[in-house]
């Protein structure tokens, strides 16, 4: 019989769930995020209470069987927060524990391959965001950008933007997930903000510095000038910048 494990969606929660699976010697399992509702009629449901001691034991065991790179890939795949992929992560971890050698390059295995795919999707989205963030300078000197990535990549962006823009205050706001990364010249931290209507687009423009509009205008002009009309290739253009990203790109607005 399949046991459904309900967990809180955190990485620690995932590791605790793994602990439960091994302690209770469960074979057929399904992992789900969320609250427990007494609706499943046939399946056994087991709510997992996140426990850092248990999670740490699993983490330690993973450390022994995986390279730091392999462990990081697991973490990235979890951060992605893609619906219904939790079972893949469980499959990955079980395959790691159930084989004696290090199997992180076993791409013939469907769990290993899928995690590798998710990591690739995440890295691509991260790379896109590093490219497509468009800061706008506000009156208080902060550079502000809004993004709407497909996956939850903001945590992966911290290092890049922190080391690059070390001498200016900046904020990158994920409008889909309602939280931001804010750098105050010392450290970059995640802040959850729920922008209500009075801070939406109109007000951002009012808060621009004087030269913001000039530089946006110059950038748009530059973008037009470097195009070679006789080489027009719309298909390629859209493949590189899919339309869903356009609304935050200064040059495409």
């Amino acid at each position: 019989m399949t046991t459904t494990l309900l967990y809180d969606g955190t990485f620690e929660g995932l590791l605790t769930a793994i602990f439960e699976i091994y302690e209770r010697k469960l074979i057929y399992v399904k992992l789900q995020q969320g609250e427990w509702h007494n609706t499943a009629l046939f399946n056994e449901v087991l709510p997992v209470i996140t426990d850092s001691t248990r999670a740490n034991r699993v983490l330690k065991a993973l450390h022994q069987k995986l390279s730091s790179d392999g462990l990081q890939r697991l973490y990235i795949a979890h951060t992605a927060d893609i619906k219904n992929e939790d079972d893949i992560l469980v499959g990955y971890i079980r395959h790691v524990f159930d084989t004696s050698q290090n199997i992180e390059e076993d791409y013939g295995n469907k769990y290993m391959m899928r995690v590798s795919e998710i990591v690739r999707m995440m890295r691509r989205e991260k790379h896109r965001m590093e490219a497509f963030v468009r800061f706008q300078k506000l009156q208080d000197g902060t550079f502000y950008a809004a993004i709407e990535p497909d996956f939850n990549v903001l945590p992966l962006l911290r290092r890049h933007f922190k080391s690059r823009y070390a001498d200016q205050k900046w904020m990158i706001y994920d409008t889909k997930r309602n939280y931001a990364l804010y750098y105050d010249l010392h450290d970059a931290e995640f802040v959850s903000i729920d922008f209500t209507d009075n801070t939406k687009a109109g007000n951002t423009i009012a808060a621009y510095t004087e030269d913001e509009e000039v530089y946006q205008h110059l950038w748009k002009n530059y973008f037009k000038s470097v195009n070679i009309a006789s080489r027009k290739n719309t298909k390629l253009h859209v493949r590189h910048i899919p339309k869903r990203y356009w609304k935050h790109l200064t040059e495409k607005i």
């Binding site: 076993d106 706008q136 080391s163 001498d167 530089y215 002009n221 973008f223 006789s230 290739n233 253009h237």
Partner: protein
């Protein structure tokens, strides 16, 4: 700041610079030190123009005034166009402000030649120096080396820039003589050679003292124009190979000639840009740099031009059917890399994964192999494989019939429904 005047200059000088196709912002390893602005490492394309080319750097000319009269160039002396010139401060301000907004990875600065080579080069160097020393700017800087510039200036340029490049312009010396009578190849090779030595020397110094200053950490590159002169692909790739080998170039760029000027030495104004040929040359270039192919395996005296219908890797495979099929569970990496439909990443995945068990079609498909191409050339852990004794030509026809590439020169007849 006079926004209107700057806009006009930017339009003129970006427009004039756009035919230089080099766009890379990678290969450097400049860190952001002391909380300055920017860094340069792996390269990011921040946007893409409607022609599908990447926009990574602020690519502009310092000026489009030029004393030379090269037939292929819009900025040539005898062309009646609007001329403009930036001041040093204007370029610095544009770069910094674009960079802070995350529009660009850095600056690509070239220039028409005014007065003489050194006078021009000195101004380019001045801008790079100002960005680095006064603004603590660590973003990517690509400077064009002006042919004929002195060694002292080239040395200084190398201290501030990440990459330097001298454009060869034409694949052969004859082509250059025909279209750019003011330029000579020796003037181009000399700064290249100087840079090569500087870079090698710097690498040695770096080994001894970690703190030795960087010297053009992203190396040097060059560009040749394709289709303006009658050189064949063997000559072009031969030249590229020669410069990769002898000058340690990071990249050779191939720029399909865009007819912008009427001149009886050049293709007529209505000639199409040779985009397919350009694409095939890049594919061949990749084969030489990442796939272990030698230039004479790609083009030869009997095959002086690349096949426009199919990519050069498939071309090589169907000329060398005797080495196939390859068993992907046994063959070494270099051989797997030669299979059409398998790229560098999937080849590496195959070699890693097969240690854990033999791989079948479904597994390698998941790894990113294009089965429609690869299936004629490989066997794997499966009973189904290509059993017919196909000739190279058969395979080419099968693959062409299945592909919908916009690059197909002769489109196969489409089936009509009615």
């Amino acid at each position: 700041m006079n926004a209107e005047r700057i806009t006009e200059k930017l339009n003129i000088l970006a427009d004039a610079a756009k035919y230089d196709v080099s766009c890379a912002s990678s290969g450097s390893k400049r860190k952001n030190e002391n909380k300055g602005l920017g860094n340069a490492s792996n390269g990011i394309c921040h946007s893409y123009t409607e022609d599908g080319r990447c926009v990574s750097l602020l690519k502009i000319l310092l000026t489009n005034h030029c004393i030379f009269d090269c037939a292929y160039c819009v900025s040539r002396k005898s062309n009646d166009i609007k001329r403009a010139a930036f001041t040093v401060q204007e370029v610095v301000d544009l770069t910094i402000n674009f960079y802070r907004r995350n529009y660009i990875e850095g600056l690509f600065l070239s220039s028409g030649i005014f007065k003489n080579a050194d006078y021009t080069m000195e101004r380019l160097v001045q801008i790079a120096k100002k960005l680095r020393t006064e603004h603590n700017f660590n973003g990517y800087i690509h400077l064009k080396s002006i042919p004929g510039a002195s060694d002292e200036l080239m040395h200084e340029a190398g201290l501030y820039a990440d990459r330097l490049s001298v454009n060869l312009e034409m694949p052969t010396e004859e082509g250059l003589k025909l279209l750019a009578p003011d330029k000579n190849r020796q003037d181009m090779i000399q700064p290249m050679d100087f840079l090569k030595r500087g870079i090698i020397q710097n690498t040695e110094e770096k080994k001894l003292f970690k703190k030795a200053p960087m010297f053009a950490p992203a190396g040097q590159s060059t560009q040749v124009i394709i289709g303006a002169t009658p050189e064949n692909d063997q000559q072009i790739l031969g030249a590229a190979n020669y410069f990769y080998k002898n000058f340690n170039l990071r990249r050779v760029y191939y720029s399909g000639y865009v007819p912008v000027l009427a001149d009886n030495r050049l293709p007529a104004l209505n000639t199409a840009v040779p985009m397919v040929r350009e694409n095939r040359l890049y594919q061949a270039d990749w084969l030489m740099r990442f796939y272990g192919f030698k230039v004479n395996e790609i083009v030869s005296n009997t095959q002086q031009h690349l096949d426009l219908d199919i990519d050069p890797k498939l071309g090589w495979a169907i000329r060398n059917m005797q080495v196939f099929p390859v068993d992907i569970n046994k063959a070494d990496l270099l051989m797997i890399l030669r299979v059409p439909g398998i790229g560098v990443q999937s080849a590496q995945k195959i070699v890693s994964a097969r240690k854990f068990g033999k791989l079948n079609w479904e597994q390698i498909k998941k790894m990113g192999v294009t089965i429609n191409r690869a299936r004629y050339f490989i066997t794997c852990n499966s009973n189904s494989f290509e059993r017919r004794d196909l000739t190279g030509n058969n395979i080419k026809q099968f693959i062409l019939a299945e592909s919908h590439s916009k690059y197909l020169k002769n489109k196969p007849d489409q089936l009509s429904l009615f």
